[in-house]
Amino acid sequence: MKLVVTTSPHIRSSLSLQKVMYTVILCLLPALFWGIYYFHIRALFLLITCSISTVVTEIIFKKVRKKPVSIGDGSALLTGVLLAMVLPPYLPLWMAALGGFVAISLGKEVFGGLGYNIFNPALLGRAFLMAAFPVQLTTWGIPARASWTSLDAITRATPLATTLPKFSGNGLYPLQKLLFGLHPGSMGEVFSIGLIVGGLILIALRIADFRIPLAAFLTLVILSSIFYFTGENYPSPSFHLLAGGFLLGALFMATDPVTTPYTKKGRWVFGMGMGALIVFIRLFGGYPEGVMYSILIMNAFTPLINRLTRPLPLGGKK
């Protein structure tokens, strides 16, 4: 009989990389389905374009670098799906494809591929598009006709944009609409309930760590309450939570393990920084929405945060 020799430990938990990635995609589905239903077929096209673009880009890079093609792990697909979810549903498809290319090339492969990137690839793709095509990236809409296959849109401002000039209360959309996703916005961000459910499942499964979302949530609520209750005409904390990309960002993007701190303390710091930046950018910054930039900025600080919060080994001295 042949005995195989391996190093200890000889048993493993059942979690695998593939399971992690595909579970995240599954948890995104409620919000994703709603986005496609609400914005009709263009949203579906957007999803397909982004997914193909990220996956193909990754294949090309792996081939050029003569590395094994590892599309099966699902991370490139996940990046594509998330990218589609944060883009305006009526964005020209070629821009979406460019975004996917940038997300994987500049956002992931230049750093060495999966696991080594500094910035969140999906958001980096979006930030690139935002800087390249600001007009298109701030043009939002809802379907022009009831027909499901209709390609036209009526331009409508998002809830956050209706509160401009900074600031005039909660804008035009009541909270019920925000909860059920009956408002313009990015394809994947509108259906708040779906995002909350999916995100909580992700946290319950321990695939996402609760610390960053919780810290961001608390910081956002506390800071926005301070403004809401002391200033004139600032939007309410619940509006902050539901009107923009906060839920999608905090639950699915700030929890990206690769680009966030690996220490527990660091994750609290990351979440607090993110929450504070969101409030300040939204209330005082040049953009209506700050979720993307807050995450990217905190991504940049992540190596330093890791450094400063490095745990002391048991019984260790500095």
């Binding site: 009989m1 042949k2 005995l3 195989v4 020799v5 391996t6 190093t7 200890s8 430990p9 000889h10 048993i11 493993r12 938990s13 979690l15 695998s16 990389l17 399971k19 992690v20 590892s70 792990d73 991370s75 591929g113 999966l114 696991g115 080594y116 760590d209 393990p257 690769v258 966030t260 690996y262 220490t263 527990k264 490095r310 745990p311 002391l312 080994p313 048991l314 019984g315 260790g316 001295k317």
Partner: protein, 432 residues
């Protein structure tokens, strides 16, 4: 009550298949192969030669150094060979092969200590040394060394380790249930030697029977502490953290903070050495996993593992891995001829599937969260992988206890411990 615990750790399936299987004596094998090196420390030299007749308990190897521990024949018979044989830890090593005779005779030198209750400390220590007692918790460090702390380091606390946190293993559990009295006597001997202010017997909460049976036997200045069921609760630094909330300094020993930790099996062996004069030539081994009848066996050292397996009804169809020890820290064996030694607490048969490939680390920090020594396993693995040797110490490589928690949880299947061992090798070589 909040269960005593330490930060980090994992909860693999307990799989204590043999928890209610009483300890049985394994029939004596035809031939034993007794490695001369069964402890940590200086090597032993053989004291017998080919052709010698030996009794059960006859000294067959010893060393001169303080940190060494003699080995004894485990059967009565004839030395047929002294040579290189399979060794469960080092792969191959010098061993004495003895062919058994029908009749068993105890070595005449075996005599109990007189009036053990009132014996001198020095006598007790010398007995422990002479009878080849080593730590049975797996480390096999010579016990008399551990029990001779330098005067500059007084011991205030003794912890008896009955945690047995490795999945599958039940030998300590059964020993506590069946031989509580003997263990308590062993503990008293250690107390006598060290004179600690406090003594704790630590048992994981998943062993209620052991807890209740020992509870009845406790003597003064002994206390049972129930610790949380979690791997590696039995690691001494973790146990100390859990019970006393004290940290063993990085790179140091429990001794440095006035603590000695001894395994329950060690206490039992001390009892036998002192009260019966018996050298360490047998031990309890859990044979478990994919064998047909998992059991707890009392086994003579040097018995090839094939005998144990056969007694337990043989391996199940498809078994392709046999491990000495538990699934988390045990060592996979190349051959079924490998002998049981002092430190072998279990024999685990597994059906291993095709190994999953190693994927890139996604920095999910699961390894960081479970690491009981709070180091950064993912960073260490990468440092070794990309050969940035100068960073190893900055990231506290040497603090790793190789418990394997990090590998257990890693979704990317990164053999972190393997990288860490390579790193430790490199560091030692660089220091030279």
């Amino acid at each position: 009550m909040k269960k005593l615990s330490f930060p980090g750790g994992v909860h693999p399936a307990e799989a204590k298949l043999t928890a209610s299987a009483p300890i049985e004596n394994l029939p004596l094998p035809e031939k034993v192969v007794i490695p001369l090196q069964q402890h940590i420390g200086a090597p032993n030299n053989p004291t017998v030669k080919k052709g010698d007749e030996v009794f059960t308990g006859t000294l067959i190897g010893k060393g001169d150094a303080f940190v060494s521990s003699p080995v004894f024949s485990s059967v009565t018979g004839k030395v047929v060979e002294i040579g290189n044989f399979f060794h469960p830890v080092t792969g191959k090593g010098i061993a004495v092969a003895i062919e058994r005779k029908e009749e068993e005779v105890l070595d005449p030198a075996i005599k109990p200590v007189e009036d053990p209750e009132n014996a001198e400390k020095e006598v007790l220590l010398e007995t422990i040394r002479a009878k080849g007692i080593v730590g049975m918790g797996g480390a096999t460090f010579p016990t008399h060394v551990k029990l001779s702390p330098p005067p500059s380091k007084p011991i205030d606390t003794l912890i008896i380790n009955g945690a047995e946190c490795e999945p599958y293993l039940t030998c300590d559990d059964r020993l506590m249930i069946e031989s509580g009295q003997e263990i308590i006597k062993g503990v008293k001997i250690i107390q006598k030697i060290l004179n600690p202010e406090k003594t704790f017997i630590a048992i994981e909460e998943n062993k209620p029977e052991a807890i209740s049976s020992l509870q009845k036997l406790l003597e003064e200045n002994m206390e049972i502490v129930v610790v949380k069921t979690k791997y590696p609760q039995g690691g001494e630094k973790q146990l100390i953290k859990a019970i006393l909330k004290r940290d063993v300094p990085s790179g140091g020993l429990p001794l440095d903070i006035g603590i000695v930790v001894q395994n329950v099996g060690t206490c039992f062996a001390i009892y036998e050495a002192v009260y019966r004069g018996k050298p360490l030539y047998e031990r309890v081994v859990t044979v478990t996993g994919e064998v047909n009848n998992p059991r707890n066996l009392r086994v003579r050292l040097g018995t090839p593992v094939s005998c144990l397996v056969e007694f337990c009804g043989g391996l199940k169809e498809g078994v392709n891995q046999v491990i000495f020890g538990g699934p988390m820290m045990g060592i996979a064996q190349i051959s079924l001829d490998t002998p049981i030694i002092k430190g072998t607490s279990g024999v685990l048969a597994l059906k291993r599937k095709e190994f999953p490939p190693e994927y890139p680390c996604i920095r999910c920090a699961r390894c960081v969260d479970v690491c009981p020594t709070s180091i950064l396993p993912t960073q260490l693995a990468k440092i070794v992988k990309f050969e940035k040797w100068d960073l190893l110490e900055e990231y506290h490589l040497m603090d790793c206890i190789e418990c394997g928690c990090c590998v257990y949880v890693c979704p990317s299947n990164i053999p972190i411990v393997q990288y860490i061992k390579a790193g430790k090798d490199k560091l030692r070589r660089m220091k030279k």
